[in-house]
Symmetry: C2
Subunit: 261 residues, 2 copies
């Protein structure tokens, strides 16, 4: 791994639950020498990608990412492109819906909508990274994405988040196979307790898979009828979202979806 990747990976350590990180903490997290981490952070700081809390000396994400995000969304408005369909589906189902993009090691939420018609709702953080093996989005990506990715994830460590997370590679592979058979992926409380989710793949230009569309509901609200509605909505939604992004669902998968319903 090059120096650039090492530095960029540092940025990914920041999250909603960990907005500021000190040097020593970073050293532990990243398993690198303190001096190395320090230099990387300094260079990131020079470029505005991190900044320092002047009192605690802890590091946090810098304003540079804001400008880049503004450029990206202004010139390649993906969020805007998918938002209408995500809103639609959320309204239709009355549940939380999100589109997430594949990003090397995890799924990264792009947009979510939660039209509240129930008293309880699923908590969703657009700034969070969704693990590949513990979310329906991740499993859908593994099922419909490149075989290499699946192998990489199966070979890696499968962290247990809830006690119900699939941590056995063989079991995960089974789930992936089942997802391919079904045409959608399911995850029962793999990442957050009490949350059940279903996801379908989203494709961009040239039939390239780029992410997933997913619905997450409180597990106690889940039943056969609900599941049927969600799967139907996801299939339509995937078509629409893919189309909005200039892509389309591969022929075989679309046929599979049509036959199933």
């Amino acid at each position: 791994m090059g120096t650039i990747s090492k530095a960029l990976k540092l940025l990914n350590e920041f999250s909603s639950s960990r907005p500021e990180i000190g040097l020593s903490e970073f050293k532990q997290i990243s398993n690198q020498d303190k001096a190395t981490v320090y230099r990387h952070l300094s260079e990131l700081q020079e470029n505005g990608f991190v900044e320092q809390n002047t009192t605690t000396k802890n590091y946090r994400l810098g304003p540079a990412v804001l400008r880049l995000a503004a450029v990206r969304e202004r010139t390649f408005p993906m969020r805007a492109a998918v938002s209408a369909w995500v809103d639609d589906l959320s309204r239709q189902l009355g549940e939380l819906v999100h589109v997430s993009l594949f990003q090397s090691d995890f799924m990264s939420p792009l947009y979510h909508a939660d039209i509240q018609i129930h008293g309880t709702r699923v908590y969703f953080d657009e700034a969070e990274m969704l693990p590949m093996h513990a979310t329906s989005s991740g499993i859908a990506m593994l099922a419909f994405g490149p075989e290499k990715l699946l192998q990489k994830v199966l070979a890696g460590h499968l962290e247990d988040y809830t006690g119900m997370t699939t941590t056995d590679p063989a079991k995960l592979e089974d789930e992936v196979k089942q997802s391919r058979k079904n045409g959608y992926a399911i995850c029962d409380q793999g990442f957050e307790k009490e949350v059940f989710s279903i996801a379908t793949p989203i494709y961009g230009k040239e039939l390239k898979i780029i992410g997933t569309l997913a619905v997450a509901v409180p597990v106690f609200r889940m039943n056969k009828r609900m599941k049927k509605d969600i799967v139907k909505g996801l299939k339509e939604g995937s078509l629409n979202v893919s189309d909005a992004l200039g892509g389309s669902i591969p022929e075989p998968l679309e046929r599979q979806w049509n036959n199933a319903s």
Copy 2:
């Protein structure tokens, strides 16, 4: 300059007017070997900071910046903190107002508001980088920021954007001195033709300057009365925005402002 900075600087080449850049183009822009640029882009791509247009092979900003921006704004909501005051001032003046943050080489817009009460309005792109020598925000930063920064800018190349841009270091230094005397910075069509702007500094914790508050108006609408109103609004605004960011205006400057009005 380290490898990390070289790679990160590549990201800054993207803008609203240049959303996609090819390898050869990048080589020219950055004055680096093609192989080097290619490797840097590849590593950025692996981490989702750029992605490739599959047909043209051109590079564009990737989705990773979206997630980081979401984390930043969620955990350190600067935009949200300043938006109310910027909106207020824009409503009060009926003109475009923006807060921009200093970012190593330029000013980076954080938030802007334009309450339209006139037929014409200033075009403003939040994704754009504002040059230090050719905008009121930049000059305010030079005037009230560290002396080192001023020297660095004076020693560098001063690009001419409009034909009215200050390109002579001595003249720029004069403008900076005048700004210090006035307590605010002025720029007449230095970056965009027909746009006149005035800016005041914004301070964070421990009296550290972090950016500027600025008003930009069509030059033909500018007059003594208008200028007086803007300067008054900016002084109040700078106090409010600095306060909202947990900072405060340094004593001497605040006294200077109070005496002037």
